[in-house]
Amino acid sequence: MKFWRKVFAIVRKDIVSEFRSRELMIAVLVFALLSVLIFNFAFDTSGGEAVKAAPGIIWVTFAFAGTLGLNRAFITERESGCMEALLMSPIDRESIFVGKAAGSLIFMLPVEILVLFAIQVLFNVPAITWQIILVTLLTTIGFTAVGTLFAAMAVNTRARELVLPILFLPVISPLIIAAVKATGLALTGGSWGDMLQWLEIIIGFDVVFITASYLVFDFVVEE
């Protein structure tokens, strides 16, 4: 129980600071919408073609916008000296990891829902369904967990935000592949049964990488 109280304290800190600065979510959302706009011109999204392009558009947008957000989550932490304070405080590293990952998840999900809504309106595809929302939720859980681990490393390098996408995107490629396929099935009227094998991969990825990231996070932040 104590563990979750510490996690909750970190999440609360992130939410309060985000509400005051309004730095992260709006920028990430605007970036995501701009990507959608560009994709509209890059692919044929007229009529029946939109369903074929939409899964790719959704997940490339989420992956890039998410990377942007994850970077920011640790860069502000470092610039303000908050990371040192967190590390010095009597909190175990695992709580910091779960807290930061949960914070990123809470910031990312509303942005994703809004982007899905925009895609539904702009491309006339059924993007807001329980199936796609579940895929988005499960994928984003794994995404933010691995992303938090790598972002904590990236801010401690000379190249800062440059490192995260290079390191992060190949590692999460199976997650994105599965999410794209599952979303594609959901958009074309596939049943839960059709999506099952992809959902299994997403859940499998989440379990394996949350565990692995949780175990090695300690080594990333130690000074």
Binding site: L149, V163, P174, K181, Q197
Partner: protein, 218 residues
């Protein structure tokens, strides 16, 4: 002494593998001579995988023991793995062009190899961006562990997409002729010995680099 012995054995085995590949292994119908690259492609793929496995093991060892020695081994092995993954992509593409008429298809093994290549490329980029030695080793070890765990997951995700890559011959009874089997076995042995030779050289070089760095700092 042991190092020199290994180099001599390796050189002899590589020569034997070359002779077997081009003179002993029987031709396969309909493929001409191009299929012979298989006797390099498979041992190379094995060494790449083995190298990353060793990086994974040595990365864990480093995090547990905190001795730079293990980082030397882990990063040297990752370097060899990266070079051999590059060779997998090159030899595979050469064969694919002749057999399938295209350099590349987005199939299971090709895509997995490419993702693997990108992960370990990132491993070295990351290391290059960290000045502090101890931190570089620590971050490298984390990527060495996470990257290796990722391999089966990547393969699993891509395996659900239809494929054109030939199935692994050895496990499906495709290799029946003793000449084929011996060529492959010698090839794999030769490349494995080559791995240890390269590893020994690279680790020795890392120790030398370390000594020079310390001398310069004085």
């Amino acid at each position: 002494m042991r190092k020199r012995f290994l180099i001599i054995v390796g050189a002899a085995l590589v020569i034997a593998a070359l002779l077997l590949t081009f003179l002993v292994a029987p031709p396969i119908e309909g493929q001409g001579a191009s299929y012979r690259i298989f006797y390099f492609h498979v041992p190379i793929a094995w060494v790449a995988f083995f190298a990353f496995l060793m990086t994974f093991i040595w990365s864990i060892t480093y995090l547990v023991k905190r001795n730079m020695k293990w980082d030397f081994y882990a990063s040297a092995s990752a370097e060899i793995g990266l070079v051999f993954t590059t060779l997998i992509l090159i030899t595979g593409s050469i064969w694919a062009k002749s057999a399938w008429g295209t350099w590349w298809t987005w199939d299971l093994r090709l895509t997995t190899s490419l993702v693997l290549w990108l992960i370990y490329l990132a491993y070295f980029l990351l290391r290059g961006y960290v000045s502090d030695e101890e931190r570089r080793a620590r971050f490298g070890a984390v990527v060495g562990i996470i990257g290796f765990i990722d391999v089966p997951v990547v393969a699993l995700a891509i395996s659900l997409v239809p494929t054109t890559h030939p199935p692994p011959l050895i496990f499906e009874g495709g290799l029946t002729d003793w000449r084929e089997i011996i060529t492959l076995v010698v090839g794999i042995t030769a490349f494995t010995v080559l791995y240890f030779v390269l590893l020994g050289q690279r680790v020795a070089l890392k120790y030398t680099e370390d000594v020079i760095k310390k001398l310069k700092a004085e």
